[in-house]
């Protein structure tokens, strides 16, 4: 895994406790609690979320992970990104995706692309053995 200081800070934002939950899972698996900051949409309108994200960007965040592609968190992230073209927004975040990003080399652009591919590839449907008729 790359070391923290070389990595641009990343923020995970989601509905209610989603971000805190998924980042706690990352911490449990990697042993690292310095890879992701978290934010929730709870109690905030889109403008409130946007203000929160703009503060995070001003604080150095260059990578935003959001849960629902069409959710209010993503809308807010896209608005915040509008004035900050170097900021990347990744949607549809999952645990495999975040783990891949956590373990990737510190090249934010390619790390995001690779993590999205990993997240897609991690989705499978497993069925049990067919019962005899």
């Amino acid at each position: 895994m790359s070391e923290g200081p070389n990595r641009p800070p990343a923020l995970v934002i989601g509905h209610r406790d989603f971000a805190a939950g998924i980042v706690s899972a990352v911490t449990a698996i990697t042993g690292r609690d310095d890879l992701f900051r978290t934010a929730s949409n709870d109690g905030l309108d889109t403008r409130g979320m946007e203000a929160l994200l703009r503060e995070a960007i001003a604080d150095g965040v260059t990578m935003i992970f959001s849960d629902l592609p069409a959710g209010s968190t993503t809308m807010a992230a896209r608005r915040a990104q509008r004035d900050h073209p170097t900021v990347i927004v990744v949607t549809g975040v999952s645990l495999p995706l975040l783990l891949d990003y956590a373990f990737a080399a510190p090249d934010a652009v390619h790390a995001a692309d690779a993590a999205v591919e990993k997240g897609r590839a991690a989705m499978t449907v497993a069925r049990g053995p067919r019962s005899a008729d």
């Binding site: 109690g43 905030l44 629902l68 069409a70 959710g71 209010s72 809308m75 608005r79």
Partner: protein
């Protein structure tokens, strides 16, 4: 009634609207009434991202919504009319006699607002505006998603039901 829900939600088009209400009501169109969004291609493109391919979305100003309301209401497919704030819905209710039921879906925290429900925060001016709408015969209740309890306006304003 083809417009199944007239909703005030400051997040406008998002998961609760498209999935939470959209699926059980089988919504096929959304009317987003917002003067700022209606005049911004960029904002419209952003909100289109949140709309599934089988759902149409119309971006209209308040004036356009009033002028076109009867055609929206005549659409045989089920739809939802959305505003981002109470004032916009109040202007619609004042101009459209047929609009007699309003859903408070999300009015979130902002300076000067007091919490009424987990998803409803109001200023005293907004409380007055809601009372005035109710006084003109508009039935107002809060319900963020279909499975949630319907909370009538008087219970919201009396602070009986923070949940």
């Amino acid at each position: 009634m083809p417009i199944e829900l007239h909703r005030i939600d400051d997040r406008l088009i998002h998961g609760q609207v498209v999935v939470g209400w959209g699926q059980p009501l089988e919504l096929r169109f959304l009317v987003l009434v917002d003067d700022e969004v209606a005049s911004s291609e960029w904002e419209q493109e952003l909100y289109r991202m949140g709309v599934p391919p089988d759902m149409r979305v119309e971006f209209v100003s308040v004036a356009e919504a009033i002028a076109k309301y009867s055609s929206f209401a005549a659409d045989p497919k089920p739809g939802m009319l959305l505003t981002g704030d109470i004032d916009t819905m109040a202007r619609l209710c004042a101009a459209i006699p047929a609009l007699r039921r309003v859903n408070l879906g999300g009015v979130h925290h902002r300076a000067g607002r007091a919490q009424k429900l987990r998803y409803i925060f109001l200023t005293s001016a907004e409380e007055d505006e809601l009372r005035a709408m109710a006084g003109r015969g508009v039935e107002i209740s809060a319900q963020d998603v279909p499975a949630a309890r319907v909370i009538p306006l008087n219970a919201i304003l009396e602070g009986e039901a923070i949940a």
